[in-house]
Symmetry: C2
Subunit: 441 residues, 2 copies
């Protein structure tokens, strides 16, 4: 783990496993935990939350406490506060997509991922700021204003699961739900110094999650520690803990420059965690970036076409302008991108014949200032969005699971290491990450 | 069957089963049959063939005859002449796609469907005219000129498997390979008064077939009789004859006007074969037509993008103009069409809860004059291409098998009845067609 950000709250110094033990010894109660979360949320000035559901959270915490007292134990998340990205439906609790189009929308039903969390006893504290419609990796444009980076509040949090990363990094909650299309869990996780998983495409149901690009969308956990993230992943995916594996793991290093110019210090921070990894090459690396743009643009515009036609003024200026560009993507370009994706999936599979896990920086830079759209990376002036998405979106295109873990601070700002596995390799990612970040003594 | 066209050749009066029997009694030899085919091809002025492979055909016929004489029997197609659409690779034999882009192309390998035919002992006589790149239902634009309708040579044959339908209708060969994306087997089959099957999507491999729109493309047989068509289907699909079924079949009638204005006399000719069918409605019928246009356009442009950029002059004027329109289809429109297709497949499945087979005219009109692009249908002025595709392309979008059988003559020109089944229902289609066209006495 890295040094907590200035002023971080209660959950910055407590793990889920530790709290779960406390709940069972009676040292703490679920009601205590929810009060910590509500107090931290109220105290925070980082704009992590769109909605804090005090009565709902307290009621859920009391139910959780009563159940535990009555001997009903729902597992490690029982009584643990969680935050949910405001792109994910919560029954009876306003869900806005970060957009004025849905300013007052209250869904009837929980998204399947939320239902699973509640079933596991987790206590939903509130809804976190999402980049408007999850359509942006900066986390600084939404109907509810920008989320602020806990390490430097004038820096962006990254996005689109901006508030979820901020809420975890700032110790407001130990766990939060994010969604990841091109990097929307991993990017803010890395920018804010927490752990975030994009699961294998399809591993966690997206029912009740507002779509951005259906062939790329995923739901994933954000947590401070690797172990906490894994506990939440298992609940989201409905998986049991597998048997522990101790076999050696081969790690391949992917140079970030294959995708985009990168700051040397940021690359070095990530590389330091995998000093022995052999460098491997991803074929057609830059084509994967183009595939991402084409697929995401066409699918996202399809989702928003009627809103753009009928009420463009309800979008933020930046988003409506981006949608108008997305509208221009041609059908044949989309077809070709899908075709290249099919071929690339097969090609990249062969990379995993020689390696179990690929490693690379999650971001080529640390978090730029809120509102910045140009910045420098590796000494080159670059587009901020392109830079933020450059290391994460290729794995989205390929449908692979990818975990971002903190890789120290660079000039006081977090850097991230991203680990990528074959489909279904989430547990392997957690094992490898623990070995790298908390090497066995 | 309908009255053969004027001047029809040898194979207009012989069935495959009859010829197969003759080959085995020694009444005829495979060499005799190939000479009939070569003579008819030489005599015909309908422009059915791009290439007639006299030496290759004769050599294959002699091999077939030698095998039969030696007791090697490859089944009902052994020694039977077949023609192959010039969009389908034939090893060592020029394959042009009806295009100047491939004027001199000689493939190394047979397409899988051709390999299966040769394996079954069929004798490939030559390559038939295809509408340029199979991109057109009229059959009158190709680098090799229009195919002529045997019933009236100034009328179009329909396309894109134009020459295959003409070669069969004119009695030059008993069997021909076609391909069907939006109706390219069924349309010329109906226009020329023969039988043609579009199989279930994926049932016959398209390896070695030049693509038009890969999520819609199929390979199918054309023959004069239903039984001949079935024999060829089984070889193409690699299927054995199933056990005979005698259970009653429920037939639903689909009004052609659901898709497009239709000539009453043409509709009546088809309806006459299914007098007792109950009328059913296809939900969102016209949306399926739009889906077809969007999917086919985007996928086809993807195939041709580099040719349009580098050598537009090698396309026919009409095709390059159509490609430039296809280029404009937006990615989001394509995505939406695929999405609607997914939903429509589920909806139309429920139609088959009440019906085993759907019946409708294959075409809403009889074959217009060669070169015509506007015509009348049901008293309305309409676009010829849209009219020709209107009754066939919806089933392509849905991936369903569909059989076109002759339904008599209207003012001397053939009309067709189309029968559509659930996926995998090809054998049912043949059974139903036989009962309707040749009712048991």
């Amino acid at each position: 783990m890295i040094e907590a950000p200035p002023g971080a709250g209660f959950f910055a110094t407590h793990t889920v496993a530790g709290l779960a033990a406390d709940l069972r010894t009676g040292r703490r109660s679920a009601a205590d935990l929810v009060e910590h979360a509500l107090a931290e949320a109220a105290r925070s000035t980082l704009n992590a939350f769109v909605t804090v559901d005090e009565p709902g959270a307290r009621a859920a915490a009391h139910r959780a406490a009563d159940e535990l007292a009555a001997g009903v134990d729902r597992g490690p998340l029982h009584g643990i506060p969680v935050a949910v990205k405001d792109l994910v439906d919560t029954a009876g609790l306003r869900t806005t997509m970060g957009s004025r189009h849905f300013a007052d929308r209250v869904p009837d039903r929980d998204a399947e991922c939320v239902r699973r969390l509640r079933e596991a006893g987790a206590v939903v504290v509130g809804k976190t700021v999402t980049h408007e419609f999850a359509y942006g990796p900066t986390g600084d444009k939404s109907a509810h204003g920008p989320a602020h980076n806990p390490y430097r509040p004038d820096a962006m949090s990254g996005g689109s699961s901006a508030g979820s990363a901020v809420a975890v990094a700032a110790g407001i909650v130990p766990l939060a739900v994010g969604t990841d299309t091109g990097g929307s869990v991993r990017i803010p996780a890395a920018a804010c110094g927490v752990t975030g998983l994009r699961p294998t495409y399809g591993a966690v149901p997206v029912d009740g999650v507002f779509p951005l690009s259906p062939t790329l969308d995923s739901v994933g956990p954000l947590a401070r520690t690797i172990d906490d993230c894994r506990l939440m992943w298992r609940v989201l995916a409905g998986r049991e803990a597998p048997e522990a594996s101790t076999r050696p793991v081969r790690i391949g290093w992917v140079e970030p420059e294959a995708f985009h110019p990168a700051d040397e210090a940021v690359t070095a921070a990530a590389r330091k965690l995998v000093p022995d990894a052999e460098t491997v090459e991803v074929p057609d690396a830059r084509v994967l970036l183009a595939d991402y743009r084409l697929i995401q643009s066409a699918e996202a515009y399809e989702i928003h076409a009627e809103r753009v036609a009928r009420a463009p003024e309800l979008f933020g200026d930046e988003l409506v302008a981006r949608l108008r560009v997305a509208e221009q993507v041609r059908g044949w370009e989309y077809v070709r991108a899908l075709e290249h994706r099919r071929r690339a999936v097969a090609t990249v599979e062969t990379l995993f014949d020689g390696q179990d896990v690929l490693a690379l920086p999650t971001l080529p830079i640390t978090a730029p200032p809120i509102g910045a759209r140009r910045t420098s990376a590796g000494g080159r002036e670059v587009d901020v969005r392109a830079a933020l998405l450059s290391q994460t979106s290729p794995w989205s295109v390929l449908g692979l699971p990818a975990l971002s873990v903190p890789a120290g601070l660079v000039d006081g700002m977090p850097a991230g290491l991203q680990l990528v596995a074959n489909p279904g390799g989430e547990e392997l990612l957690f094992v490898v990450a623990e070995r790298l970040v908390q090497p066995p003594r």
